[in-house]
């Protein structure tokens, strides 16, 4: 077993980052000019890192498989971004954001990293405002905040329901500015297919030009991966169609460790599956839970009537509704963290109370909010005794202002009007807390290979709180990596420009070409899509919202069989030397299958329930998750080993500032 050194600096928790920053190695401007950095991915983490490194004077090469950096999936984040600004004077602080994140993560993240995240959170808001991000504002012209799932303060900054879009455009524009100066070289429609090591250090990547099919070798002094999460291993998820694990997985195959892959976040409020052709699931922002109330009918007869269309939700009497989150978790009600809300929805549906044809949906109801807002708005207009019509008019106006675009999106997809009838929602795979293992410097165990944003594992433990993904992506890219990368690069200033024709590069290139040729050579009968769907079903069934040892063992076997079948029977049309999306997918799905096996193994080995990882064997009598701090207060980091099978390494988590408690939202 490898000894994993997180390289957390000494000192008081609150001083670590400041002291460390003040004493870390720097690279002088004249040396920065000669140092090249490869950044893969242009989401919030990748784009902000590439832009900032360019501003600092490094020569940056940035890669994306999209046609433009602006299309990265960060763009789809709806709800908001947290920051410990305490603009609302409600008692927020760096410590409180740190504490909430640690607790929300079910005590499975690294204290020092999370505290640093909370510290730099405030800078992110300042930076984004300066870039022109149009955050929501109050009438006085100052920034507005709202509260978000799992916390009791209002620290979430937002830009309508399009916060991710506006933040990404900010980062994309900062990146574009560096591209214009020549400081950053932009490669679009290029996919990383391998990592190249020289003497154990990450020195470059092999890419495929997705338009021409050309395989290219790119060298640099170090490599930064900001390539997102692996939620698409489930096939159906809220991720974009192109999201994949290939860059990270290729790094794993070159020796990087995959940490806590079993920690996947199932988002409670997504539009339910409607048919077998379904290609992806659409998230409805968690902010909806601020005003929406989740419920299912108490009586089975009502459930039946709803399913066959003979009864409408609004005709079910108040006393016949089970607002199960409010009932079970009175302290947080509908605002419990995502893992808790998702599991509760599953339990409601498993017990036969699901409200659509498939039985896999619960109501998210805005009727109370419309009434409440309608009355208060009518009062503001001087109407003290409003009739129903007036209340509805004003109430719907307020709800439209807050959630208009989300309601519109819902109506487009389902054909139902959520102002008049409750939404139907169900949990879906949304985010992966696991990722490449990194130390305090965000460097993986492979020297010179860094991982930022969702691609790494470091900050969210076993469960991520709402509005924290955007925060982490930008914290890593703008304010952490640009500093910590110097710890590695300051030792590399004597290394001349790296050549891309060394034996290591040629060998890696050859391996990629062989991998592509091999996959074409199968020339079987089944489409890539059909394999991916099958893999997704296995993962969802056995490694989804709840897991047990028996199911996980079964899944191991099923995935192995599927993998074997894939390499025996997959069919890819067209040619490798052209624009060929089927080939792209095939390479990604092949990697997902290997990852899937490691996820299942990780879930099997973690004999406790923590955050997004719920093992049925480890629960209380009331069905709440039961951690095992004695044996599992650690990070499990997996090494890929073709001969022996994956090897589990461990980083013990030290909690010096926070007492481990049962995470209760009751």
């Amino acid at each position: 077993m490898k000894k994993l050194d997180p390289k957390v600096p000494e000192g008081r928790l609150a001083d670590k980052w400041t002291d460390y920053k003040g004493t870390m190695n720097l690279v002088a401007p004249n040396n920065k000019r000669n140092i090249e950095v490869i950044v893969v991915g242009t989401g919030l983490a990748g784009a902000s890192a590439a832009a900032t490194l360019g501003e600092l004077g490094y020569k940056v090469k940035v890669f994306t498989f999209h046609d433009s950096p602006r299309r990265a999936h960060s763009i789809a984040a709806q709800g908001g971004i947290n920051a410990a600004k305490n603009y609302q004077n409600d008692g927020d602080s760096i410590y409180r954001l740190f504490y909430d994140t640690i607790k929300g993560g079910d005590y499975r993240s690294r204290e020092a990293n999370v505290h640093r995240l909370a510290e730099v959170s405030a800078n992110i808001i300042d930076q984004c405002v300066a870039q022109g991000v149009p955050f929501a504002r109050e009438y006085g012209g100052l920034l507005a905040n709202r509260s978000f799932g799992g916390v009791q303060v209002s620290r979430t900054f937002y830009a309508r329901g399009q916060t991710g879009q506006q933040l990404l455009i900010g980062a994309y524009q900062a990146l574009s500015r560096q591209v214009a100066t020549g400081q950053v070289e932009l490669h679009t429609r290029h996919e990383m297919l391998d990592l190249v090591l020289e003497e154990g250090k990450a020195r470059g990547i092999i890419t495929r030009n997705l338009v021409t099919g050309e395989i290219e070798r790119h060298a640099a002094h170090c490599v930064v991966l900001g390539t997102g999460g692996y939620g698409n291993v489930f096939y159906l998820s809220t991720n974009a169609m192109g999201c994949n694990v290939t860059a990270a997985w290729r790094a794993v195959k070159k020796g990087a460790l995959m940490a806590n892959p079993c920690y996947t976040q199932i988002h409670p409020t997504c539009i339910p599956v409607s048919g077998s052709y379904q290609s992806k699931l659409t998230l409805m922002s968690e902010s909806l839970r601020n005003d929406g109330r989740v419920w299912v009918p108490k009586k089975k007869s009502d459930v039946e009537a709803i399913r066959n269309g003979s009864l409408k939700a609004k005709d079910i009497a108040e006393e016949d509704r089970d607002y199960y989150l409010e009932r079970r978790y009175p302290a947080f009600g509908n605002l419990v963290p995502r893992d808790v809300a998702s599991r509760a929805a599953k339990q409601a549906c498993d017990s036969g109370h699901g409200v659509n044809k498939t039985g896999l949906a619960v109501f998210l109801d805005f009727a109370s909010a419309i009434q409440r807002y309608g009355k208060s708005e009518a009062f503001k207009h001087g109407i003290t005794d409003p009739d129903q019509e007036t209340i509805l008019k004003y109430g719907e106006q307020v709800v439209e202002q807050k959630y208009g675009n989300l309601f519109e999106m819902y109506e487009k997809i389902t054909g139902d009007d959520p102002y008049k009838t409750p939404m139907k929602i169900y949990p879906a795979v949304h985010y992966t807390m696991g990722g490449l293992w990194v130390d305090y410097n965000l460097e993986t165990n492979v020297p010179g290979l860094f991982a930022i944003g969702e691609c790494n594992f470091s900050d969210h433990g076993a469960n991520r709180l709402g509005a924290s993904a955007l925060m982490q992506g930008l914290a890593d890219g703008y304010f952490v990596l640009p500093y910590t990368i110097g710890q590695f690069l300051s030792h590399e200033i004597r290394v001349p420009k790296l050549k891309n024709d060394s034996p290591a590069f040629l060998e890696a290139e050859k391996a990629v070409v062989e991998r592509i040729d091999g996959i074409f050579a199968v020339n079987g009968n089944k489409s890539v899509e059909s394999f991916h769907r099958e893999l997704g079903l296995i993962m969802w069934e056995y490694c989804g919202m709840s897991r047990n040892a028996e199911g996980l063992k079964k899944a191991q076997k099923l995935i192995q069989d599927l993998r074997a079948e894939f390499h025996r029977d997959v069919f890819i049309p067209g040619d490798k030397n052209e624009y060929n999306p089927e080939l792209e997918k095939a390479l990604r799905v092949a990697d997902f299958m290997e990852l899937g096996e490691v996820m299942v193994l990780d879930a099997l080995n973690r004999e406790e329930s923590a955050g997004g990882h719920f093992r049925e064997e480890y629960q209380t009598a009331e069905g709440e998750a039961m951690r095992n701090d004695e044996d599992f207060t650690h990070v499990a980091a997996w090494e890929w080993n073709e001969e022996s099978g994956p090897i589990r390494h461990v980083e013990e988590l030290q909690f010096e500032n926070v007492e481990l408690k049962v995470r209760s939202y009751k």
Binding site: S48, D67, V129, R137, A159, M241, S527, Y579
Partner: protein, 251 residues
């Protein structure tokens, strides 16, 4: 529902390209792209070349999807991207014509996939605020009137899909360019370099080979994010002002 699809097939920018006919079975709940997925699965099973199209988020925000459906960019529904268009808006027996976004500045990569990197270059020419990481003052130091912030947002909502160009008889990129100029110029942080920005972005737009704006308003009608042509008016004012005020501004 049974549909006939007439789809533009073009194997690379040099190929002449042609319309081909396909039959597909769809259901009302499917999205338009899921209907195309079904067609592609069918083609792959027959060992034929699937139809290439750009797509990613499938929730109307990444701006990747780009096709002209029955003569209209992103199809018949108002304020809807192709990926958000659902088959309930079509009926059994319909014939649907699907073509790429057409413009000189958007060369075809394959079938319905076009190269929109010209948009990136327009942004690179000045579509940003010149601030380095770490230079920002506190977020609340500069209050911004709620209405102005909202108008800036309306412009910033552009997803860079290119429907405006595809809709325009001149293939002009004025709506795209003006949306960025407006977004930034309306905010105090961006107003500082507003005139320089207008000049250089317009110059780049012309260089890319987009046509001139002749105020047909087609862009606004087809824009899936309902970006208003009042942004074009705002750009014109900025541009004119900066042209008159100082001819050295870009030097």
């Amino acid at each position: 529902m049974k549909l006939t699809l007439q789809i533009w097939r073009q194997n690379g920018p040099q190929d002449k390209g042609k319309i081909e006919n396909y039959q597909v079975d769809a259901t009302e709940e499917m999205s338009f792209l899921e209907m195309l997925d079904v067609l592609n699965q069918q083609l792959i099973e027959e060992k034929k070349d699937p139809v290439a199209f750009d797509h990613d988020c499938r929730e109307g925000i990444c701006g990747a999807c780009s096709m002209v459906i029955n003569g209209r960019p992103h199809g018949p529904q108002k304020a809807t991207t192709t990926c958000q268009l659902h088959m309930r808006h079509f009926k059994d027996g319909d014939t649907i014509v699907i073509e790429p976004f057409r413009a000189n500045a958007f060369p075809v990569v394959k079938d319905l996939v076009v190269d929109r990197s010209a948009f990136d270059r327009i942004i690179q020419s000045g579509g940003y605020i010149s601030v380095n990481t770490g230079q920002a003052p506190d977020g609340n130091d500069i209050p911004i009137e709620k209405g102005i912030s909202a108008t800036a947002f309306d412009a910033a909502a552009c997803i860079g899909c290119g429907a405006c160009v595809a809709a325009c008889p001149n293939a002009s990129a004025m709506l795209f360019t003006s949306a960025k100029v407006s977004h930034l110029a309306l905010l105090p942080q961006g107003a500082v370099e507003g005139e320089r920005r207008a000049q250089s972005m317009v110059a780049q737009m012309d260089k890319e080979g987009f046509g001139f704006c002749s105020n047909t308003g087609a862009c606004e009608i087809e824009c899936p994010k309902e970006i208003s042509i009042s942004n074009i008016a705002r750009l014109n004012r900025q541009y004119l002002k900066s042209s008159i005020a100082s001819s050295e501004i870009n030097e």
